[in-house]
């Protein structure tokens, strides 16, 4: 079976699949794709089951070489995709959202994204590294799973494909320059905040700070949210997409590697589709929240 040899890693790259479930009783979270929609799309494009293991790349700068014929797709952030021959010489340009065939010794390069944060590279057959506790996801909080990728890593291609590609490319989503709107459902602890807090939450721009990673995104805004209850709540289970608000009044958005329990009140939770959109935000990006669900 062919392999993918990692030639270059930019900021960070790891293997992710649907996640590691059923271990919350041990304090171990689920990890998995940060942007689940993009990962599932990449898998579908190459004929994999939706939950197959893929490479998740943060901020591009990633290069791999195939040791045999493979079919790949890259989804997520908008970046240059280039294919080179064995000597590194430019062969042809490709693009995010195209199905790509590589022959032995050909290389795939992802440039730095102009918008968005994370790319997903799916290979037909899946990435067949050894699972840890039933999943091929690297958990950056628990530091558990197949090791993050470095130059020299060799990724075996598996045999998990369920079909062949049926399209050559997928149309990119429409975008505009307005701050993306993230849908939130109020609660469970919106009653821990003053009456105007939800209006404040949806009424101002939030900016993504550099203090952001797969565990969570710290957000900043002009006006902090204020508590109506002074003491800290006892720790309780939290969902991916939770907006947890520490004392200072600026929310932390929990992403894929969030801890199983949290000790600050959660004012609202993002819809699953909005979590995927949030996982593509970079430091400096603005967002607006919109209340849904009544």
């Amino acid at each position: 079976m062919p392999e993918l040899r990692v030639l270059r890693v930019g900021l960070f790259a790891s293997i992710q699949d649907r996640g590691r479930f059923g271990y919350s009783d041990m304090g171990l979270g689920s990890a998995g794709y940060a942007d689940r929609g993009s990962a599932a799309l990449a898998n579908r494009m190459v004929g994999n089951p939706a939950g197959a293991a893929v490479v998740e790349v943060a901020l591009g700068g990633f290069e791999i070489e195939a040791t045999g014929a493979v079919i790949l797709a890259v989804t997520g952030a908008m970046c240059d995709v280039t294919i080179s021959g064995p000597d590194g010489r430019y062969s042809r340009g490709s693009a995010v959202l195209e199905v790509i065939s590589l022959n032995a010794s050909q290389r795939l390069q992802l440039g730095a994204p102009s918008r968005g944060l994370r790319n997903y590279i799916a290979v037909r057959g899946g990435i067949a590294v050894q699972p840890v506790l039933g999943s091929r996801s690297w958990d950056t909080l628990a530091k558990l799973g197949p090791e993050p990728l470095t130059a020299g890593a060799v990724l075996p291609v598996g045999t998990d494909a369920v079909s062949w590609p049926i399209v050559d490319a997928v149309a990119p989503p429409l975008t505009d320059d307005a701050p993306p709107r993230l849908d939130i459902l109020r609660g469970p602890r919106d009653d821990w905040f003053t009456a105007d807090s939800l209006d404040l939450l949806v009424g101002q721009d939030y900016v993504v700070t550099p203090d952001s990673d797969r565990v969570g995104m710290r957000l900043d805004a002009a006006v902090p949210l204020r508590r109506s209850i002074e003491e800290e709540p006892p720790s309780e289970g939290v969902e991916t997409g939770s907006l947890q608000v520490p004392r200072e009044g600026f929310p932390v958005l929990f992403l894929a590697d969030h801890p199983v329990t949290g000790g600050y009140p959660v004012i609202a939770v993002l819809s699953p589709a909005s979590v995927d959109r949030a996982a593509q935000l970079r430091p400096g990006d603005l967002v607006r929240f919109g209340l849904v669900g009544g």
Partner: protein, 216 residues
């Protein structure tokens, strides 16, 4: 209703986005009772549950069960709080060297003296109520409340792995070195989390634990 049912009113059920409901109960005993009941009689569509101090997070697949229907099913579940923990055969033993930095102050604030603290800690069976904070960190509870002490006002930036602590009615062992605010009474060589065994956690929720004085 028998005379052993929970005395409180129906639990509050709070929405956690589109994927979970948070059931708020009056006590840890009620959380454990509800969790045991739902483990024994699973609701179709519930994919995971996370127990905590006063709440049970119930994660569900909205394709299988709607939020509305799950609320109804959870409201109808009134388990009997028989005891904390399952009637399990095995008790995990954790040998402890009782030389923690806060042992003296705990001895004083509880009025038990050092020997008394060690006697209380080793003399009863603890139950892992739930895990959280980090993989393998079990919140252990015991029948007696005599070791109930507050967390330290100042957290330590580094608590070594294997440290044994007390806080807010719980005892716990730090699986790895990390910041921490619990009162440290001793240390153990036993690892709370290891990928070399299955399950990797020494005391997942429901496990019975006994501490043993390992001597000086």
């Amino acid at each position: 209703m028998t005379d052993r049912t929970l005395p409180s009113e129906a639990p509050r059920i709070l929405r956690c986005g589109a994927t979970a409901l948070l059931v708020e109960l009056g006590s840890l005993e009620a959380v454990i009772a509800l969790r045991l009941h739902l483990d024994a009689s699973p609701i179709d569509g519930v994919v995971e549950m996370v127990s905590a101090f006063r709440t049970l997070l119930v994660r569900y697949d909205s394709v299988v069960v709607t939020e509305q229907r799950l609320r109804e099913l959870l409201s109808q579940t009134v388990p009997v709080a028989e005891s904390v923990g399952k009637p399990s055969a095995d008790i995990v033993e954790i040998p402890v060297i009782y030389d923690g930095e806060d042992l003296e102050s705990v001895a004083t604030s509880t009025g038990l003296g050092v020997a008394g603290v060690i006697r209380e800690h080793t003399g009863q069976v603890w139950t892992s109520a739930f895990c959280g904070f980090s993989p393998g960190f079990s919140y252990l509870v015991a029948p007696s409340r005599r070791l109930e002490v507050a967390r330290r006002t100042n957290s330590r930036t580094l608590v070594p792995a294997g440290s044994v602590g007390l806080a807010a009615g719980f005892s716990g062992v730090y699986p790895r070195s990390s910041p921490g605010g619990w009162q440290l009474i001793g240390r153990t060589e036993v690892s709370m989390w290891s990928l070399n065994r299955l399950p990797p956690a020494l005391a997942p929720a429901g496990t019975l634990v006994r501490f043993v004085d390992a001597g000086q």
